[in-house]
Amino acid sequence: MPRNYYINSNGRIRRKENTVYFETEKDGESLKTPLPINDIDTIFIFGEVDINTKAINYLSQYDIPMHFFNYYGYYSGSFLPRKKNVSGSLLVEQVKHHIDDSKRQMLAISFIEGAVHHILRNLRKSGISVENFQNIEKDLLPKIFETKTIEELMAIEGNIREHYYQLFNTVIKNKDFFIEKREKRPPTNPINALISFGNSIMYNTVLTEIYRTQLDPTISYLHSPQEKRFSLSLDIAEIFKPFIIDPLIFNLIKTGQITIDDFDKDLNYTYLNENGRKKFLKAYEERLSKTVKHRRLKRNVSYRQLIRLECYKLIKHLIGDEIYKPFKAWW
C-alpha cells in the first residue's frame, strides 16, 4: 500500500534515472534519500524545496499529487497530475444533483449526519457523560434532517460544533490547550492551531482520494462551489475530520506527545513548529493506515481506503445506483 511522504526539511527533489531522490544538506554533508516511486501515494511538502520539471513529469507519470504548505504549515496549493480518468456523464450527474435543491440538501445533510455521528462517538469514547451532550444527540441532530436550506443546516451544525468544542476542554484537561471558541485563519492559540493544521491535512488527503476517482472536486453540496477551494473535498472531509483528526489531537495532548514546546513561541504559539509538525504527521500517517474489517467487503481496509469508498458511494448515488449513506464508524 503506497503511503504519504512528508518533506519537512529544506532541499531538492530530483529524478535520477528512474528514481526520485530527496537531497538535503546536513552539517555540510549532502544526504540523498531515495523515494521509491511505487511506494508514494502523495507528497506533502512543508520544507523549502526545489524541484525540477524532470521530477514533476516523472511523478505525474505515476499519478502522484504534491501538496505544498508554507512555513507555518498553511496550505499553499497542489500539483495534481493531468487527470486521466474523467467521465463527462458523471460530471453531468454531479451538476444535476447540485442544481436540484432537494437533491443537494439530501447530500449536504448526509455529510453533517456523518460528522455528528463521529462527534458523538468521540465524546462517548472520551468518557464524557451523556447529559453533557444530550442536547446534541436528542435536540440538534434530529433537527438537521428537517432542514430545507443549506443555511439552516449550517446554523445547526454551527451550534453542534460550539457545544462540541466546549467539551474539548473536559476531554483534554490541559490548560495549555484550552479552547474558548474555534478560530481560524490565523488560529489564535495552540488548540486552534492543531485543529487548523489537522483539518487542512485531512482536506488534502480527501482531495487526493477524490482525484483518484472520476468525481470533480469543484462541484460540492454542503459547501458552496464558490469557495476558493476544491469544495467537494471540504464536504467529504466533514465526515472524516472528527473521525481521524480530533481523536488524534486528544491522544497527542493527553499522552504528552505534543506540548506547548511544539509550537512557535515567537508567533504566540499559534503555529506548530517543525518538531511538532513531524510528531503530528507521524501520528496522522499511523492512523490513516490503521485497518478495520469492512462488514460488506469482508476484507481489511485502511482508514484511508474508507475515504475512497466514500467517494465510490457518492458516485453510486449520483448515477442512481444506490442511495448515499454517510460512513459511520461502527466499532
Partner: protein
C-alpha cells in the same frame, strides 16, 4: 454482410463484447468512463505481458476505425494475448467479434488466442452460428448501454478479483 441489423450503428469496441460476457454492470460503468484506476499487481502484470510478448511480430496494437484494437495482426491471423484463461468464453467472443468486424470490412481472417502463461493457444474461426450470436449480443449491449441506471451487482465468485470489487460492494 448482414442486412437485418445495422452494423454501423451497433458496433462497439471489443472490450465491451468481452465485458458483456463477464458482467453487464462492468460494461455499463466502463461505457460511462467510470473506470477503476487499478494499481494492483495483476493489472501491472497484464500490461507487462502485452508489452513483452511476441516482440518479433511487426504489427502490434493495430487500431481499426478508432474502435477495435487488435493485439497482433499477421498475414492470415489476428492474435489476442491474454494473461489467464479463466474467462475463456469472453475472450473467445471478443476475438470472434474482431473477425466479424473485419469481415464486414471485407477482410477474412482467422483468430488465435495466446495464453503465454498457460502455454496454450486457441484457434478461432468465425462460423455462421457465431455471427448470429454476435448480432444478438450487439443488440443486447446497446440496450444495456442505454439504461439510465447501472445493472445490478452480479455476486459472482470472480467479483472478488475484479477491479470494481470495492466500488460494487463497498
Amino acid at each position: 454482410m448482414i442486412e437485418d441489423i445495422n452494423f454501423n450503428r451497433l458496433k462497439v469496441n471489443g472490450i465491451k463484447v468481452n465485458y458483456f460476457y463477464i458482467c453487464h454492470r462492468k460494461l455499463w460503468l466502463f461505457d460511462r468512463k467510470i473506470t477503476m484506476e487499478d494499481k494492483s499487481d495483476k493489472v501491472l502484470l497484464g500490461a507487462l505481458l502485452h508489452m513483452d510478448s511476441y516482440e518479433r511480430e511487426r504489427q502490434k496494437e493495430v487500431l481499426i476505425d478508432n474502435l477495435i484494437s487488435i493485439d497482433i495482426l499477421d498475414g492470415v491471423n489476428i492474435k489476442e494475448v491474454k494473461y489467464s484463461d479463466k474467462m475463456e468464453k469472453a475472450d473467445k467472443m471478443q476475438v470472434l467479434y474482431y473477425l466479424y468486424y473485419l469481415k464486414n470490412l471485407g477482410i477474412e481472417k482467422q483468430g488465435i488466442i495466446n495464453y503465454p502463461k498457460q502455454k496454450k493457444r486457441e484457434f478461432i474461426q468465425l462460423t455462421e452460428e457465431a455471427e448470429k450470436e454476435l448480432e444478438a449480443v450487439l443488440i443486447e449491449i446497446n440496450k444495456i448501454l442505454k439504461q439510465e441506471k447501472p445493472p445490478p451487482v452480479i455476486d459472482a465468485a470472480y467479483c472478488q478479483k475484479c477491479a470494481y470489487f470495492e466500488f460494487c460492494y463497498g
